[in-house]
């Protein structure tokens, strides 16, 4: 109990520190005092104000939301599929989202250049939400039989959808000109570079819905750890809850992917770190994961845009660089626990 409180206080403090750090650091270094001055509208230098309000603040907000949504989605999926290896990117939900978004972009650019609806930025999160929803639902149908989710099927569906997305993005690459090529790498490696206030406002309802509504079903997720039938015998409407949670996950993951591309492994790693700190109770796991996910993603982004400054590293390179070895380590541990059958 005390430990849990300490962890949450620590996470909130870390979130604040991360915010300060991400606002100060970059191609243009801004001293913390000037950040504060700019925030209350008394910036010493006009360019500080411009960089902060037009670039860094929306980018930080998008990072917090996307990191929080991806990590919460990971924790939620792991509970829903009763499997600690589930992750939005690994099971293909992220790819499905990207597929939806790229599909719309390719359609818009190639076949219907005059149709205003398709090129509207607002259509992207919806297309991507639909893609993520279809894949998550499919995975759920294919991999879950009799209240038990087969890991192999879970990951194989991910492989298939990832391949399909690869082909689709390849097709788009084939059609794209040089300038568009660079932006397409965005989908596979992820970047917060597209952040502006419009993107933030479009992503917010989806991401925040996932982050703040998911904990409502935390007790059902706890009961699901016993098994689907068991959760039903405890009086929960399991099928209905599953449907709601799949829609919520797809919303958060879809909107994240639509504006930041596929960012791997955040959803897998973060819930495990939180479980190691405060245990598997979803009432604390989901908000804790959202906090840590937000922190880690904004920190990675700050790192990604400073280590090769003034250029930017795609953020997916960093998250995959840390996440993939962690995933391998988990596979080794899982094999010993024989959850693989």
């Amino acid at each position: 109990m005390r430990r849990r409180r300490a962890v949450f206080v620590g996470l909130v403090l870390a979130l604040l520190a991360t915010a300060v750090c991400s606002l100060c650091v970059g191609a243009l270094q801004i001293p913390p005092a000037d950040v504060w001055a700019a925030l209350i509208g008394q910036a010493g230098e006009a360019r500080y104000e411009s960089v902060l309000w037009n670039l860094r603040i929306p980018r930080m907000l998008l990072g917090f939301m996307v990191g929080g949504a991806l990590a919460a989605a990971g924790g939620l999926m792991q509970g829903l599929f009763r499997n600690p290896l589930a992750d939005p990117a690994l099971i293909g939900a992220s790819s499905g989202g990207a597929l939806g978004a790229v599909f719309v972009i390719v359609m818009a650019g190639t076949f219907f250049p005059d149709l205003p609806l398709l090129s509207d930025l607002r259509i992207l999160p919806l297309a991507s939400f639909a893609g993520a929803l279809i894949v998550t639902w499919l995975v759920q149908r294919l991999a879950a039989t009799g209240g038990y989710t087969a890991v192999a099927t879970l990951l194989l569906v991910g492989v298939a959808v990832n391949a399909l997305t690869g082909a689709m993005i390849g097709f788009a690459t084939y059609l794209a000109d040089d300038a568009q090529l660079r932006t397409l790498s965005f989908w596979t490696l992820g970047s917060l570079g597209a952040a502006d206030w419009q993107v933030v406002s479009l992503a917010a309802p989806f991401c925040l819905a996932l982050i703040f509504l998911a904990p409502i079903w935390a007790t059902v997720l706890n009961a699901l750890a016993l098994g689907e039938a068991e959760a039903g015998h405890l009086g929960f409407r399991v099928e209905r809850t599953k449907a709601i949670l799949i829609v919520l996950t797809a919303a958060g993951v879809g909107a994240s992917v639509a504006f930041t591309g596929i960012i791997l492994f955040v959803g897998l790693v973060v819930p495990h770190l939180i479980r190691a700190m405060i245990g598997p109770d979803h009432r604390w796991l989901l908000p804790g994961s959202a906090l840590l996910g937000a922190i880690l993603l904004v920190l990675s982004d700050t790192l990604a845009r400073t280590i090769v400054s003034p250029a930017e590293l795609p953020i997916g390179i960093l998250t995959a660089g840390f996440g993939a070895p962690f995933f391998l380590y988990m596979l080794l541990r899982q094999r010993r626990k024989a959850l693989w059958t």
Binding site: Q78, P84, T219, L234, G235, L339
Partner: protein, 259 residues
């Protein structure tokens, strides 16, 4: 309390349960017995609503199962399926407290959970991580979970417990301990239905036995009526001798080694 009328369940051409009529009343322990594949677990799943019958209907307190609000039902009726794995590192105490979720008071029930764990002889495991427990230890923890679900129910009225092979992984001492817990619940008015394999344990602790074979309930009655050399021999395809259990007033079965 629970009543099944003409239950049939088929998968394709194969009939797993065939026109089963049965009931469990207040305060009795009913044991469901039969050879492997006789349909015991399927019948239990039909009775608790996990499977829907092709024909027939299940009533709890004279109301069809489907008309019960799930949470209302869960406050009165607990079901313990055959053992399943828990994928996350919950402590045993947290697992037991999940039994309070239909009552919504888990945060205030730690003492109750520990008492239930003491009854099922697993109080010393309370802080252990469940993924590290043995099969038998886990079964006692799960039994404590269904115990807190109904033994301390707000509505003291009709309550029912269904157990599917709850003692399959337990040593003899804990087998008797678990069945004593079930019998004690029955004394408090709970209707208990339990799937068992051990005829002698069933004879010792159950008030009524149901023998199943090939999807049908073939014999029903008190242990003395059901456990006879002819009936047990016919249902299980074995030759047996039945004597009086010297420790209590119940029949005891011994199987001949050569058929």
């Amino acid at each position: 309390m629970i009543r099944a009328e003409g239950l049939s369940f088929r998968v394709g051409e194969i009939s797993l349960v065939e026109s089963a009529h049965m009931g469990v009343t207040k305060g009795e322990v009913v044991a469901l017995l039969g050879p492997n594949g006789a349909g015991k677990s399927t019948l239990l799943k039909l009775l608790c609503g996990q499977l829907s019958p092709n024909e027939g209907q299940v009533f709890f307190e004279n109301k069809p199962l489907a008309e019960w609000e799930p949470r209302e039902l869960a406050r009165r009726r607990a079901v313990l399926p055959q053992s399943s794995t828990v994928p996350f590192d919950f402590t045993a105490l947290e697992i037991v407290l999940l039994g309070r979720s239909p009552h919504g008071d888990a945060s205030r029930c730690e003492d109750m959970a520990r008492e239930a764990m003491a009854q099922t002889e697993c109080a010393h495991l309370a802080e252990r991580i469940v993924t590290s427990l043995s099969g038998g230890e886990m079964q006692r923890v799960q039994l404590a979970r269904v115990l807190v679900q109904i033994d301390w129910a707000v509505e003291r009225s009709p309550r029912c417990l269904m157990l599917d092979e709850p003692i399959s992984n337990l040593d003899p001492g804990h087998q008797h301990g678990a069945l004593r817990v079930a019998a004690k619940l029955a004394e408090k008015g709970v209707g208990v239905l339990v799937v068992l394999h051990d005829l002698n344990l069933a004879a010792q602790y159950a008030d009524r036995l149901l023998l199943m074979k090939q999807g049908r309930i073939v014999v029903e009655g008190t242990p003395a009526e059901v456990i006879t050399e002819e009936q047990i021999g016919a249902v299980f395809d074995i030759r047996v001798k039945v004597i009086r259990n010297p420790t209590c007033d119940a029949p005891a079965v011994f199987v001949e080694s050569s058929v």
